[in-house]
Every structure is written in structure tokens, then in C-alpha cells.
Subunit: 531 residues, 2 copies
């Protein structure tokens, strides 16, 4: 008799908990195997992620290794390349092998969540920090330390102002929590930099609503949070959305340019592209599932969590995309899959939301429970931590996290960079009209290709106004002379409308010149020198 | 009156401690400023680094932020581009500015250590894990978890064997310590992977001597360590050096090829290139300093630590490159610089080595003290930890590290990947004669350029032997058809002598095709199709 195989796509709360619940139901059964496909080998507890910024908890304490949660599940840390529902096959990106891996399934559980999507906001993909997983959190943390270090040594007041301005987009749960932790971190760290005047630090929260958490929390709690953050130095810009971003500016809906090197945006999420390519009924980019968590029209395809559109069992509308719902859905889904395999009756998902919480850093939080009780301040923060702590898997992890919280009371901020903030070889950048893209004499240039927009080449001679010596448009490139001659920037480049470019690091492009054919092309691209 | 500026290049034990000692001596003096230039914002305690692999201690506990150690020092996290000793100027790579930073100095302290250098061992640069800093340790740790995860799900026995074979090159302190921790980690982690048979795991230590630690430790201690590691499953290959490495093999001096995906090499270090370019007297790549730590022929240039050649005050020969010596040299150097500024007499460096220690993981260590006393086992491990703990800067850090050590007794292994093991866009690779470089049908290819060596193009048709359809040599490339057509590998490539290639990720190269000139060149590079 061949084994039945259940494949779960996605290792977030919904996916990992489905595996966990399946293992519990299937204990000692050899006739079913569980496969989980995830991009990361850990499950992130999103609400704790902002605490990584401040280093209040150990870096690894916010996340739970999936293997620990579901030790008998086969875990594939791979990308999903293709799902063939008719053939009941999933194709995964290669591991150490050179070819893709194809797996057959009897039941498929889709819990792919959604992805950050900055497409409608020019430049945010290139210049804003997303904040969804551990790598994002570590990268932002490294960047904040770098920005403070550079602010402490620069002699240029304009640059220092940019470096010490921090902009967070979005006043929902994630935006508020990130903003609170970021504000705490930069202000307390700055004390270690004797050349930084704390009053120079600005932390701005840009939000589309008229107050923070306007959709998520009752007014009294939201205002409490708002006042608390304001007292700690956060400035708010309400009724305003981020419009775009460039290397040196965050640009608001009304055109205002805020000079900054740190823009965090928690706002836009869109359906996972893998979900969009699935041959299942979708509504608003989410998979239509019923209360059994079965996808409409299928009896072996299941979907839950943020990527699924599931009727809310207790209220009008649909289940919100929260961990609370995902965990309960996972339990129902696992039960129903086992029932399906065994030919037993399936049951409906049912759950009433317990409450909503937001941490505000510095031992303060706000909580709304059972749609009736409001808590705020230190007590709420204690409840928030306890609620998380109870859910930690395993006794030893509970102790470890408990201890690092205790330690936090006596210990100072951690200033070590983990080295995540590494330069990459290929960088995309967006500029708004009239920004300087390259300044004559710059030492760090690369070969840039214009994807969209226009720019002028300026020659700055010793005296007076820079002269326009050329124009550039889509498909044109600049930086070739500097690349071939290893020289400083020969000219300045200023864009005359919004400009999108992609820039190759010189060093990384170097080996291509070994190909005589390619070298000749680059030589041909070298513009005529002006005398 | 203008301030005197002391610039310290390098943030290792020697550099950071020089800053610390200078701050102590110069407290409240406004006439001198201290600048420290370092690649990282933390100082690594090398002997603790291997513990990161096993996660016995918190990731950040092995390192000390320099800012904490020397809060009044201006810290530049930059690369040194150029030192002009005659002009008394140092040029640093740009920060957020676009141009390099130039700083004048009155006194220059060179503590640039040395760098990992695999140049004499083909392929090690591309395929071996170095082990000198935090990023290296985190990257290796992520890789080990990945290798175990893939071993647990592959159906290919040859690949599984490769994945579960771990090779460490070098049986000195660093090699032995890394090997001990790596062995502990993979063996204890493997228990969580129900599909991995622990007896399949091989950990090999390759060493040029006839026993481990043959230069560093007396025979009885070395043999104790060797037996202990052997009992825990480490295999030794003595009187043998690593010769080269390829993506799938570690190759020994006698030509033996060990199939592995994990090769750690602690062996080769060479002078820092910045030191080699300095206009100061060098001997064997090290800067000639006297017992005052002054560089021969200069009264404002100082050098200490691993990059300096300093007579050993108590014995024949020169100071060994150890943290113990660096710390004491730093104190003398700081005193002498302040004496020089104040026109007071300078003193000589003097120090007798206290002892040598090696940790063997799992609460065991060996120690040689005062050239007389030998300690081994648990007691030695306790002494080793205490010796480190005493040196931790700050009370809160002491508590934190102490607690994570206590926690370690109750807690299991941490399996979370931090995400350091990211694929890069430009990959260099080395192959030995007759290895397969590309297999027909591979899905993950790129555009590769041959730097050295020769290869043949093979066409594998349905039946029988692959046919040679072309030859490749230096300056040739392959993977262009697959890049332009987005297809699977059309042919196999096998090298006919040792081969060095550099491979561009297809996606990263894509934007270059926007340049018509370059696209045409790639089209021209497309070889004639065989019918």
C-alpha cells in the first residue's frame, strides 16, 4: 500500500501549525506522510519582530524552528516553482541538486500568505525597508547602527540631518510597533555617540488615517498610544500617504520631500505570485475556501491563513488575516484532512477573536479584549508578553526567552552589527525630478542603465554654472568611461523627470570584459569626449 | 591651538585596546582626539567564535561593540583606501557621502592584523568557508543547517553522502576548536532529522602535522584532545595538506578527492594588502616595530598586533600573534604615544605569556599554563570560560553571558537560520580535471566565463555515449543560449584540465540586455546550433 502524502505550501503560522496538528492526529500512523515547503526554516511571530530592532530579546527568540514544532514533517526549504493541480504535483526549486524537485501529493494545503508589494509606489522597492521576516529586522537593525555611526563622524550638516531622520510609513499595528521600537533604539543608542545631539533625531510616522490604529483599535486606546509615542519624540503626519522614495528622500502624497536615509514601510501587501498562478477560484487575490477550509470545487485542496478568503464564522464578512485565526484554522484543517483520508465526517471552523494587542516598546502596550475590555500601559504590556510566552513551543525555549526578558532589565542596548547590511552587486534606484544622480568627482560609481525617465549630463568646470553636455533617456547608460578607465565620475548626472535606473557594481562587471565581444561593445558605448 | 589626532587603523584586539588605553590615559584632555578605523563595529574574541556554530552562547555574546569599549573614540566603519605617511594623511572609503574621506593624523597606529588568503590553494577561495569573523561564523552555521535539511530530504545516496561529510583543514587552535564545535553541532542536530542516520555523518580533520596541535601544545594535552575528539566521531588525516577544492570535493595533497559540500579552512593567512602598500620597513610581510612599538625609522608611526614584527621581550624570536600579547602591547603603545605627545620618556614592552588554551566543546578544554602546568577536561573548560568571562567589558554583559551559559545547560540546540547564507550574483568556481561543470538539463545555470583551463561541450542524446560537440578555453563562455532563451542547459560541460570560471546569475545580467549594443554582442556569442 502506498503512503498518502500531504503537502503544505508555506511555513507561516497557518502552515506550520497545520503540520503540527497533523502530526498530533497522525501519531504513529505510517500510512500518511507530511511535507512542508517553506522559504525559511523558522516561523516568525510577527508581533515580536519589532523587538529585534532594539535587541530587547535575543535575535533568535522571536522565531521558532519549524523542525522543532513538527519534527516528523519533511521540511523543504525551497521556493515553489509550479503547482499542477490536475496532475497533483508540486515542483520546487533545486536544492544542492541541479534540477528541480517534483513531488506528488494526495492533499495540498496552501498557506502562502501574502508578499510585500511596493509596485504602486515608485522607489519604495529600491529604497524602503520592508519588515516581514527575520532578515528584514536584522537588516534594518544593522542599517540603524550604521546610520548613527556615520552621523557621528560626518562634518556635513545636511547629511547628518538626513541620517538622523527616520520615517515609518503606515500607522497600523506593524507600523506603530516598528516605529515605537525604532524610536527607542535610536534615541537610547544615540547616547553612546558623544557627537550626536539627541535633539537632532527625528522619527516620523506617516499614516493615511486621522489617528494611528484607526481601523484596529478603539479611539481611547489609540489616543493613549499616540500620546505616549509623542512624548517619546515621535512626530505624526496624518491623512497622508507615502508617494515615492529616492535614495535621499521620502516623498509624501502632497509632494513634500523629507530628507532621510531610513524609510520603513509596512503598508503594502499583495497576493503571493504562486497563489495567483494557481488554477483555483480566487477573490481579490485570495483563495476561496469554505468553513471546512476546503478550496471551492476541490476535495483535496485546502487553503487557510492570510492567502485564503474564508467566511468569518461569527460575524459578517471574512476571517481577518491574523495569527489567532490562522492557528485555529490550522487545527480544523488538520482534523478535516485526516477525516477525509479516513472517510469520516468533516467539521466547520469556528472561532471568536479573543482580542487585539499592540506593543509600544519600553514596557508599555495596549490591548482590546473580547470586544469589551481595554487595557493599557504596563499591565497591558505584561499581558502581551505572557500571551506570547505561553505560546512558545517547548519548556527550554520558555526559560530562555524568560531569562532574556529578565536580563533586559539590567542590560543596556546591544550595538553589534550582524553584517546583514551588505552591499549587493546590482542596485535599482529611483529618483524624483531634479535630483542629482551622480556628482562629478564621485568615487563610488558603477555602470547604470536607464529603465525609465530622462536625465542630463552636466560638466562642472572650475567657474560658475554647470554646462549641459548631453541628454539621456531609457536604454541609455552612464558610468562606462569611469568603468573602463577606473576614474572618478567625469560629469554630474541630474534627472529632468522621475528616473529609474539599475546600477552594476564596477567590480562585478569586470570579468565580462574578458569577453572581447563584450569589451568592444562597452568601448563603443563610451561617449565622445568633449574637449 | 589645534588638536592632536591619533588614528588607529584596525579594530581587532590590538587596535580596540589601544583606543581603550588611550582613553584612560587621556581622560578629560581636550587637546587630543582618537580616531579608530575598523571594518566591523565590534571586536571579535576569536577563541569564542567557534561556539557560535553550536549556538551555545548568544550570537552577539562573542563580540564586543568597539563603541562600548572606547566610547570617546571616533569610530569609522570604513575601508582604508590609502595611507600617505609623508603627508600624514589617511584616505577612507566613502560612507553615505559619494567621495572618500581624508583625515590628517599626528600619530598613526597600524593594527591591521592579517587576512585569510587562499591564493596558493586553487578553489579554496571559492569553495571553502573561512573562519575569522562573526559573519563567517553565522554563514557557516546557516550552511550546516541547510546541508542537514537537504540531506534529510534527498533521495540521491551519493548527494546525501556529500552533504553529510564535513572537512576541516588545519589542526591548530582554530581548526581544532571549529572541528569540535562543528562535530557536536551536526551530530546533535541530526537527531532532530528523523531521516538522517547519524552513522552516515563524517567529520574529517586534515592536518599537516603528525598529531593535532603539534606546534601549540605539549604532546600529552594534544593526545588527550585527539582521543576525545576521536571518541566523539572525528576522523583525522595527518601529515597531509589540503591541495584544492571544487564545488563537490575537497582535494588532498596526494590527489584523494573527498566528496563534500562543507569545507572549512582556518589555515592560510597573509599580510593585509594595506600593510603591504605602506611605505614602512617590512619583514616577512610584517611591520618592523621595536619594543616601544614604534615603527623602525619613525617617531609618529606605531604598529602592534598580528601585523607587526616585534622582538619577544622574554625569549628568542618575536612576539606570537595572540590576543594576550596584543592586549599588553596596546597598553605600552598607548602609554608611549601619550609620552611622545607630552615629551616624556617612553618605556619598553614587556610580558611573559600566561598560557595557552583550546576549547574542545561539550564542556571540555585543554590548558597549558606558565609553561609548566597542564590542565584538561571539565576543570580546564571551567578555567577557560572564567578567563574569558573576566575579560568581558561591563557588568551587564558579564551577567548576560553568564546567564546564557547557564541556560545552555537546560536548553537544546538552536536550529534557526539567520539568513546569512544568501546566494550572490557573481560566483567564482574551481573544478579539477574531468569534473562535470554543467549537466544537460540543469535548471540553474548562468553565464560563465572561463578564466583558466579547458573544457569540452558534450551533447547527450537519448542513447549511449555523450558526444563532444565543442571545446572551450580561457576567454570563452558558456550558458549564453540558456540566458537568451531562458532554457534548461542544452549541453553538458566537462573540464579536461583544472578549470576556473566566473558565473553570472542570469537574472542579474538581464538588465544589460537593455543596451542594444550589449545584446547584439551576446547574440553574437551564441554558438552555432548543432542539428
Amino acid at each position: 500500500m502506498s503512503k498518502k502524502r500531504i503537502i503544505i505550501l508555506g511555513g507561516g503560522f497557518a502552515g506550520a501549525n497545520t503540520a503540527l496538528q497533523l502530526e498530533r492526529k497522525l501519531r504513529r500512523r505510517e500510512d500518511v506522510e507530511i511535507v512542508l515547503v517553506s522559504k525559511e526554516n523558522y516561523m516568525v511571530f510577527q508581533p515580536m519582530l519589532p523587538e529585534i530592532i532594539s535587541g530587547n530579546i535575543g535575535i533568535l527568540d522571536t522565531v521558532t524552528p519549524i523542525r522543532r514544532l513538527a519534527p516528523r514533517t519533511e521540511l523543504f526549504i525551497r521556493d515553489v516553482e509550479h503547482v499542477d493541480i490536475a496532475k497533483q504535483q508540486v515542483t520546487l526549486s533545486p536544492g544542492f541538486e541541479s534540477a528541480s524537485t517534483v513531488l506528488d501529493f494526495d492533499h495540498l494545503v496552501v498557506t502562502l500568505g501574502n508578499v510585500t508589494d511596493f509596485r504602486r509606489m515608485p522607489g519604495l522597492h529600491d529604497h524602503a525597508f520592508p519588515f516581514k521576516n527575520l532578515v528584514h529586522a536584522l537588516r534594518l537593525r544593522d542599517h540603524l547602527i550604521r546610520v548613527l555611526s556615520e552621523a557621528a563622524i560626518t562634518d556635513d550638516p545636511a547629511l547628518r540631518k538626513q541620517l538622523l531622520t527616520f520615517v515609518v510609513g503606515g500607522g497600523g499595528f506593524s507600523g506603530v510597533e516598528v516605529c515605537a521600537e525604532l524610536n527607542d533604539f535610536v534615541r537610547s543608542c544615540a547616547k553612546r555617540y558623544f557627537k550626536i545631539d539627541p535633539s537632532e533625531i527625528r522619527v516620523l510616522l506617516v499614516h493615511g488615517g486621522e489617528r494611528i490604529l484607526n481601523r484596529e483599535m478603539p479611539e481611547c486606546l489609540a489616543l493613549y498610544a499616540q500620546n505616549l509615542l509623542q512624548k517619546r519624540g515621535v512626530e505624526f503626519i496624518f491623512n497622508m500617504l507615502l508617494a515615492s522614495a529616492t535614495p535621499e528622500f521620502a516623498i509624501l502624497g502632497d509632494g513634500q520631500r523629507i530628507p532621510t536615509r531610513t524609510l520603513v514601510s509596512s503598508v503594502p501587501s499583495s497576493p503571493n505570485p504562486v497563489v495567483l498562478r494557481l488554477d483555483v477560484p480566487l477573490d481579490r487575490g485570495r483563495i476561496k475556501s469554505d468553513l471546512k477550509l476546503q478550496v471551492e470545487g476541490f476535495d483535496n485542496i485546502w487553503s487557510l491563513g492570510d492567502c485564503a478568503l474564508i467566511p468569518n464564522p461569527k460575524e459578517e464578512g471574512f476571517c481577518p488575516p491574523t495569527a489567532q485565526f490562522a492557528v485555529r484554522q490550522a487545527k480544523t484543517c488538520a482534523n478535516n484532512i485526516v477525516a477525509a483520508i479516513d472517510g469520516k465526517p468533516q467539521s466547520d471552523f469556528t472561532f471568536t477573536e479573543l482580542g487585539k494587542m499592540a506593543s509600544l516598546g519600553h514596557r508599555r502596550a495596549i490591548i482590546r479584549m473580547f470586544d469589551r475590555v481595554n487595557l493599557h500601559g504596563f499591565v497591558a504590556w505584561m499581558v502581551w508578553r505572557m500571551a506570547y510566552w505561553v505560546k512558545l513551543p517547548g519548556f527550554d525555549r520558555k526559560i530562555k526567552v524568560g531569562m532574556s526578558w529578565l536580563m533586559d532589565i539590567v542590560c543596556g542596548r546591544e550595538l553589534v552589527q550582524t553584517g546583514m547590511d551588505q552591499p549587493t552587486s546590482l542596485v535599482e534606484a529611483h529618483f524624483e525630478t531634479d535630483e542629482m544622480v551622480v556628482r562629478q568627482g564621485d568615487s563610488r560609481t558603477g555602470v547604470s542603465i536607464i529603465l525609465a525617465g530622462k536625465a542630463v549630463i552636466l560638466s562642472e568646470s572650475g567657474d560658475g554654472e554647470p554646462q549641459v553636455v548631453g541628454e539621456l533617456g531609457p536604454g541609455d547608460c552612464f558610468g562606462v568611461i569611469e568603468f573602463l578607465d577606473k576614474s572618478l565620475a567625469q560629469n554630474s548626472i541630474r534627472c529632468t523627470e522621475t528616473l529609474d535606473i539599475v546600477t552594476y557594481n564596477q567590480q562585478e562587471l569586470e570579468p565580462l570584459l574578458l569577453l572581447p565581444e563584450i569589451r568592444r561593445s562597452f568601448e563603443n558605448l563610451r561617449p565622445e569626449q568633449k574637449e
